[in-house]
Symmetry: C2
């Protein structure tokens, strides 16, 4: 009898042809990722309870738990004891600064503001197209803005987005919007940024950058090139930022 303990459980791969051979909880994780990507549960919403998911996938609660654990470790889901498990969102003070690594040298809470300089649809430059996995010549949205902290211009951002996913993004809509840009992308365009990679250099301020950031041309700035990804490691944003690090710094943790 004991040898039949697991014989009535068919591998999930047999029930779902799309999942390759891998541990059950990895297959569950992949299925949950698909649902997130499809928008089955929106950012900020609760996903079904562990028990319900266990029933749906015909696995034990522990297996679902391990899948969710990994998604929570990646900040795609947020567990709240007694309440449920929620889809991460860029709205919410808690994670407001998840992708903003600029911090004041002292410890006061800066007042931040944003000014849109430009927002237009153009043919993707070759380097941007390559980074975004677009064919050269495809349309991208290009916007520029200045972020200020305590009324002091501190970040000059140059941003590119795939045109197809961001139809209807205009300088006007950006001006009206209050809050983090990634929040807007979530709510208005259904694009959740879940991960990003940055390359940082020190550069001399160009005349144009100096003008917007109110610094001397040639003074040292941080150049931060960011590539942001949505579910499934699909690149969805290129961002080149010039940071004034007079009273602020870029913080990072190694471990």
């Amino acid at each position: 009898m004991s040898e039949s303990a697991t014989s009535d459980r068919a591998p999930l791969a047999e029930r779902n042809a799309s999942a390759a051979f891998s541990p059950l909880y990895q297959q569950i994780k992949a299925l949950l990722l698909q649902s997130l990507d499809r928008g089955e549960w929106k950012p900020g919403e609760a996903i079904p309870s562990e028990l319900e998911l266990a029933g749906r996938f015909q696995v034990s609660q522990g297996t679902v738990r391990k899948a969710i654990d990994e998604l929570a470790a990646d900040n795609l889901l947020i567990r709240r004891q007694g309440k449920g498990t929620f889809v991460a969102t860029h709205h919410e003070a808690r994670v407001r600064y998840r992708f903003l690594r600029m911090a004041p040298d002292d410890n006061h809470q800066p007042v931040s503001g944003s000014q849109i300089l430009e927002c237009r649809r153009i043919k993707a430059p070759a380097d941007i197209a390559r980074l975004l996995d677009l064919r050269s010549g495809e349309t991208v949205v290009n916007m520029r803005r200045v972020l200020s902290f305590d009324q002091v211009p501190t970040i000059l951002d140059d941003i590119w987005l795939p045109g197809a996913a961001f139809k209807g993004l205009t300088a006007d809509s950006l001006d009206r919007y209050r809050g983090p840009l990634y929040g807007l992308f979530e709510s208005e365009f259904g694009v959740s940024m879940v991960r990003a990679e940055e390359k940082i250099k020190a550069v001399a301020a160009s005349d144009d950058a100096a003008k917007w950031l109110l610094v001397q041309p040639g003074s040292a700035l941080l150049l931060v090139e960011r590539l942001s990804y949505t579910y499934g490691d699909r690149p969805m944003e290129v961002r080149r930022g010039l940071y004034v690090t007079e009273k602020f710094h870029y913080r990072n943790t190694l471990n």
Copy 2:
């Protein structure tokens, strides 16, 4: 009968007065951390098997597993299926660049070299003493070095270490040593760096920095101030690095 399922298990806190009230696996984690800190298992060595630890602490294997899982997630331990669980070490190519975030703009593998400029014992400057939790006036080791990639001077490091923990560290011993500095700290002084925090700014090269890095005075450099911690979040190193980002960049991942 069923209500006695756990009645023969006394909370670990009763057996170990030092552990405050918290989940069992957190108490186990704290005990493992103590053992690591004490040097009971050295970097690179295997710790006892999960089953053995479970026996030692009188808990189930699953509880030990969860404690180890968290330590592995923090990179303090490394699991190897079929072999055991090992104490993380800064020797080993695998994690060689755990704390070195500088990467070439193209993707070639650079040849690196180190030149020690200075190594002396001095009274800690006020800011360094504060960062290292030392009383002002205590002795620190101060060393300076240049790291080169492909024979090109790229990083000028200024490093401070608590004098008490690093007796016998001299320019001579540094010159003889090949490999990552944190590996030396581990083997020779029993100090494992497990985590670090960095603050990054862009600055203009001073005359002195320009001399060592072979750049024009005033050119833009990355200033990276690092505070490194050993077990128990005890700060053990301050490092101020000036990085030339002409052909290299500082890489980072956000998630």
